[in-house]
Symmetry: C2
Subunit: 340 residues, 2 copies
DNA sequence: TTGAAAGCGCTAACAC
DNA sequence: GTGTTAGCGCTTTCAA
């Protein structure tokens, strides 16, 4: 809050208008003046006040980043990486990111993040699944919104998503090519669009290879998608007494939990059971064995989201563009050829 | 950016000044007018523009929250919880939090977070250890700063810290009271003030109980304080062939890694070796067994930090207040009485 | 090619 | 008690 445009103008001996014009590359300013202005700006280390700028431009220069509290606190840095990507990209555009969490069970009359209520953001990036109730409350604000790793049930939106279907296919195909036929699928929170897609990818790939679906091999009704759910899912699977030589978990956390349970029950991984996860959470240094998984470019998703909202803001149009980022199979040591 | 103070004023039939005064509780307004103004504000859902307000008040209403990228991405939600506390507290005060990460090896000419360079924050909360180089670069900005879970080598500062010394004492004492005498200490990054204090607490408590220190039992030169360091530390310890029945790791991550290594080598926990951690990261559902540890009120630390910076800002004085938050021993299943 | 001036929405003297 | 008014720092017609 120190050196203002006025002082720059005075130093150069021009009007503030001229300085402003120069700074916005805008128009017909003689190269001579431009140079002198730029020099003064440099020398004085002039930093335009975002406040004043925003006031006249009628924009805050802020983007709200919203996710549920449990997502933010997830042990593996999934959404934090997305956030970092967004933050990084925001540096180039001249936006600031305001982060706020909402309750996972956001209720009709819960209070909205203050930056929304106060209209202190120009747009919103919403990461991960959020309650319908929350989205409903957003409507009157008429803010541009970009979703990341989530797409609401209703309506058309802008979103950055990952290729869940293809990821699940890659994972399943990997196992099939290793010779596995009895491949279990582990999931929870099956209503979540991403999980559902992964489930779908699993099923369609099996069919594509003419492997009959076996409902006994699918555990999809776990409450959560955390480690303990993976653990429990395998317990259930074992209790069913159904034969399986491989296992595709809908995410890494469940895969890790699943491995724990398998190991506890004396199964060798990957010798007796191959395990594939999804997300590549790269958290547990002590994954034992290191998990074969589908890696997701989290950081890039954050970047894409920021670019998307920025272009929405600049063009002042609602494009409802969907960006699907690619995923890839990362083969580590938790999978091996089928050995009977 | 819709309904302004003007419209409120017009609706009530008073001047904008009156509305402004009412809104700031400020004194001599007749209860009658006050009521009418408040009613209009309500009806129109008037939200004061932070931009305009900031412009005249010469404050941005933003607080920068800075930490190193690796801290932000830590698998256990330590700093994220602190951040959440800060965020929560910021709702009451009318501040927004801008989060930025810096490289852990911030170098002299690295670019500062944009909100600092651009003077878009009124103050800074710095969480965790940050490079000296970064702090040096901050000086010219003359911003009020509150440190959380870190205290710079030089100078006097405001900070919110946890009682590391007492925590380490509690942990060590717990083991001693269980009958253990040969208690190992595991640490990395020993130059970090917090780690050093924990080391100190360990040592002084042993001495207090007249247990001679045994350097062979101290592994303090691990590079990091992550799981793999815990794992490695135990490897080293075992290779030394020194006798030990309990182990105090400088944090939970190392404790977990240590347990992995112990289990791999056939040790039963807690029957043969008791393990205590520090931080209570409550991340791994599958801590096996659940870890006895020192719990730290992370969320509260965030709240305290926000309150501290706020009061600094309000009083416009540099108090250099240090707040030490209490820690407590949480006994779970990784510790048991000494059995020879 | 440049400058004057109005005004973005709000606060805070200072009048009345 | 309440209104008038002068900015806060910036952008942007409009004139020159």
């Amino acid at each position: 809050m120190k050196v203002t445009i006025k002082e720059v103008a005075k130093k150069v001996g021009v009007s503030t208008a001229t300085v402003s014009l120069v700074l916005h590359g805008n128009s017909r300013i003689s190269p001579e003046t431009r140079k002198r202005v730029l020099k003064a700006v440099e020398e004085l280390d002039y930093q335009p006040s975002q406040l004043a700028r925003g006031l006249v431009l009628q924009r805050t220069g802020n983007i709200g980043f919203v996710l549920t509290e449990n997502h933010f606190l997830r042990t593996e840095p999934f959404y934090t990486r997305i956030f970092l990507g967004t933050e990084f990209e925001a540096r180039d555009s001249s936006f600031f990111i305001l982060l706020a969490t909402i309750p996972a069970d956001f209720k009709e009359n819960d209070v909205l993040p203050r930056f929304i209520a106060q209209k202190s953001v120009d747009g919103l990036i919403i990461a991960g699944k959020v309650p319908e109730q929350f989205l409903k409350r957003l409507i009157p604000y008429n803010l541009p919104v970009v979703f990341v790793d989530f797409y609401p049930q209703e309506g058309e939106h802008s979103a950055v998503l990952m290729d869940n279907l293809r990821g699940a296919s890659l994972a399943t195909e990997h196992l099939i090519r290793l010779g596995h036929r009895d491949i279990a699928f582990l999931a929870g929170d099956i209503k979540h669009p991403s999980i559902r897609e992964r489930h779908l990818g699993y099923r369609s790939t099996l069919q594509q290879y003419n492997i009959p679906l076996n409902p006994q091999l699918e555990i999809i009704d776990e409450k959560t998608t955390g480690k303990e759910s993976g653990f429990n899912a395998v317990c259930t699977l074992l209790s069913r007494g159904v034969k399986f030589s491989a296992l595709f978990a809908c995410n890494d956390a469940m895969a890790i939990g699943a491995m724990e349970c398998l190991k506890k029950n004396g199964y060798k991984i990957p010798e007796q059971v191959s395990v594939v996860g999804f997300d590549d959470i790269e958290s547990d240094v002590f994954q034992d064995p290191p998990l074969t998984t589908i890696s997701v470019p989290k950081y890039d998703m954050g970047i894409e989201a920021m670019q998307l909202i920025r272009s929405t803001l600049e063009n002042k149009m609602r494009t409802n563009k969907k960006i699907i980022v690619p995923v890839e199979l990362v083969v580590r040591q938790s999978t091996a050829p089928f050995a009977r």
